[in-house]
């Protein structure tokens, strides 16, 4: 791992669904050891950005590097927490088994989940305050509890860079606090965490780095520098500002 390299480096990333661009020319350089929020209006491409980085949706163009090397070669350094509703919570599996899934890469193909791995999964459950629910089927957990075990599953991966897609969606206040505490502990251990986030009121409190996204990167940098009303307007007034700038551009070229 090259420590002088950015935790995440993105150059010229474009993603299109059926020729309609969702992300356009994204450039990003995010330093290690930050908790980075990704904010923007609905349809801004926040989830798509994460999925494109993780090779879950095809990229039309662009380069993604993690600590200076292509993502594909750095997979083991990267952990992912998908949106909660992407999985079937009626699946016959308990909390411990779900968390142990985070260890499957370490366990390797065709080898069973042994007691030693189950112990590690249990420790992760303890870290998120869910140890007593280890043997409960996942549909019998509340939304906040489900989010916590998702987080525990990411923790056991022991990654250096985490991508979390709306971990605060539909969780109770206690869970939100618990998740924030864990994110801060991760940062103290030198990890980098990306969090897709919706609640602008908590941005300053939760994140030390911010990516403001609306199809393009409107602003990215330390949260206290880029979280300005000017940038917010440019991010959330998306189409309007694009139009303004188009008008500017036309005006500029004709004069």
């Amino acid at each position: 791992m090259q420590h002088d390299a950015p935790a995440l480096h993105i150059r010229d990333l474009t993603v299109a669904y059926h020729r309609k661009p969702v992300l356009w020319d994204v450039d990003l350089d995010v330093p290690p050891s930050v908790v980075a929020g990704i904010v923007g209006p609905n349809g801004a491409g926040k989830s798509t950005l994460i999925k494109a980085v993780l090779d879950l949706v095809p990229r039309t163009s662009g380069v993604v590097e993690v600590f200076g090397r292509p993502y594909r070669r750095q997979r083991r350094l990267v952990g992912y927490v998908p949106q909660r509703e992407t999985v079937d919570w009626d699946y016959p599996i308990n909390a411990l088994e779900l968390v142990a899934m985070g260890l499957y890469r370490i366990i390797g193909w065709c080898r069973p989940v042994t007691a030693a791995y189950r112990t590690r999964a249990l420790e992760a459950l303890e870290e998120v305050g869910m140890a007593e629910f280890a043997h409960r089927q996942i549909s019998r957990l509340s939304g906040g509890q489900q989010q916590r075990i998702f987080l525990a599953r990411a923790l056991v991966q022991d990654a250096d860079v985490y991508f979390m897609d709306e971990p605060f969606a539909g969780v109770d206040a206690g869970t939100e606090k618990a998740i924030i505490a864990i994110l801060q502990r991760l940062r103290e251990r030198g990890k980098t965490v990306f969090v897709v986030h919706h609640d602008l009121e908590t941005v300053r409190e939760y994140f030390d780095y911010l990516v403001m996204l609306n199809m393009r990167v409107v602003a990215a940098g330390p949260a206290r520098d880029v979280f300005t009303s000017e940038n917010l307007k440019r991010t959330y007034g998306g189409r309007l500002t694009l139009l303004d700038r188009a008008v500017d551009a036309i005006g500029g070229s004709s004069s």
């Binding site: 059926h18 999925k51 993780l54 090779d55 879950l56 997979r75 083991r76 990267v78 952990g79 992912y80 998908p82 992407t86 999985v87 079937d88 009626d90 699946y91 016959p92 599996i93 308990n94 088994e97 779900l98 899934m101 985070g102 499957y104 890469r105 366990i107 193909w109 065709c110 080898r111 069973p112 989940v113 089927q137 599953r153 991966q157």
Partner: protein, 435 residues
């Protein structure tokens, strides 16, 4: 009922077909791709036809390979059609499998006119004919169909055991599988290959329509009964085997009893599976419809009884042991419960059945046993009032309804915690004693 070795072989063949279909079908159910079994079971027909044209044989390795190839091709085509045609799963499958099935029919029509493939056999299978074609393996003479099915079940078992963890991962969370470096696509097609292989092998026994029942229904039963993957697979396989045995017995006995000829085993088997499913739907622990209705009823009965006990406990604080008449029940505390005649009557009846209350001269009095139970109800009620008043800062006027509700849902563990919390206290917020 006359049972011969033919019957035993029929049951064994049906059980093997059912078990292997249930095992791989369980993963289709979990992946929410059940109808993929439908699609694949039809789409393999061109593979069977081409293998026949090339080798002249309707059975054996080439047919399995051809069918498996077309099964995987079908699942790939479904994927492509869904993506580029912007269709949902169902429409994509409908397009792919009907076209492939039609192509298969044309191939068979043109090249294999003389082959004995009857529509009946395609639809219902011909498990009754399985014992008639035998092969010798070492010193054993067993029906060829049974040998093929045994091999397929063995292959299914080996793959499922070997890739148990990977199949669980990819059917639960394919995105995580990809980020962990497990090739979700590869695993998906491995599963589709198994489905195709199993479908073709089971095809001969249960037919193309009933094979879908064998793929899907056992998984649906397991979904109602289990909470973890290994039991899920076991219940799936067990219900298929059970259906095979019961199905065949039913096929050769039930119609005779009503003066008909015995019927098709595969049809009976699928019917039995359907009955098993509906039984599970009704009486599955926790999730069954009847189970849930019963749990609610039992809960309501407890609540009614406790309401009666609570009112009698309060009454006996004033006029010790005198009890209450039905009219006094309605008026004394203006309790919303007692105002409803049916609720009160049910509560009184249940309390008498349980031996908590006895009736003398139109008045209801607590028995010795009832006094202890009633004290407990009232004590818990007042402890909750204490809790809401002291901890929740709830005003006096609002205390009663909340406590009235919670007193019914307080188990021994919660009661202990309440007792611990208010160990030194002996009155409720209004100054009434804790009994």
């Amino acid at each position: 009922m006359i049972w011969t070795s033919l019957d035993s072989w029929i049951v064994i063949a049906a059980a093997l077909a059912g078990a292997s279909a249930a095992l791989v079908g369980a993963f289709l159910v979990l992946e929410k791709m059940s109808m993929m079994g439908d699609a694949i079971s039809h789409a393999v027909l061109p593979g069977i036809a081409i293998a026949f044209i090339l080798t002249g044989s309707r059975v054996g390795g080439p047919v399995l390979v051809g069918a498996a190839g077309f099964g995987v091709l079908a699942s790939m085509l479904v994927h492509v059609v869904r993506r580029s045609g912007r269709l949902d799963d169902g429409a994509a499958m409908g397009v792919v499998f009907t076209v492939l099935f039609a192509v298969g029919l044309i191939l068979i029509e043109q090249a294999a006119r003389h082959v004995d493939i009857h529509p009946d056999h395609v639809l219902f299978g011909s498990v009754e004919l399985v014992p008639l074609t035998v092969v010798e393996i070492g010193s054993m003479v067993i029906p060829r169909g049974v040998a093929v099915l045994a091999v397929v079940l063995f292959v299914d078992l080996v793959v499922v055991i070997l890739f148990f963890k990977e199949l669980r991962l990819v059917t639960f969370d394919p995105a995580l599988a990809t980020t962990l470096g497990f090739n979700a696509t590869w695993l998906h097609y491995l599963l589709m290959t198994l489905v195709a292989l199993t479908t073709v092998a089971a095809f001969e026994v249960v037919g193309s329509i009933l094979v879908i029942a064998m793929l899907v229904v056992p998984g649906a039963i397991a979904h109602l009964l289990t909470r973890r993957l290994a039991p899920f697979l076991l219940v799936s396989v067990a219900s298929a085997v059970l259906a095979a045995a019961i199905g065949h017995v039913a096929a050769i006995t039930v119609p005779l009893r009503f003066g008909f000829e015995d019927t098709n085993t595969a049809g009976a088997m699928a019917t039995v599976l359907g009955l098993l499913f509906f039984t599970a739907l009704l009486v599955a622990p926790e999730r069954g419809l009847l189970t849930r209705a019963w749990t609610m009823l039992a809960r309501r009965m407890i609540v009614r009884t406790q309401d009666v006990l609570g009112l009698l406990a309060r009454a006996s604080e004033r006029s010790d042991g005198d009890g209450l008449s039905v009219n006094e029940f309605r008026t004394v505390h203006r309790s919303p419960f007692a105002a409803r005649a049916t609720g009160l009557r049910v509560g009184l009846m249940l309390s008498r059945i349980r031996g908590f209350v006895r009736r003398e001269h139109g008045r209801y009095r607590l028995t010795e046993r009832g006094r202890a139970a009633a004290r407990r109800v009232l004590r818990v009620h007042r402890l909750w009032e204490r809790f809401f008043h002291d901890v929740g800062k709830v005003g006096l006027i609002d205390l009663h309804p909340a406590a009235d509700y919670l007193e019914h849902y307080t188990d021994a563990e919660l009661r202990d915690e309440l007792e611990k919390e208010f160990a030194g206290t002996d009155t409720d917020p209004r100054g009434n004693p804790l009994p």
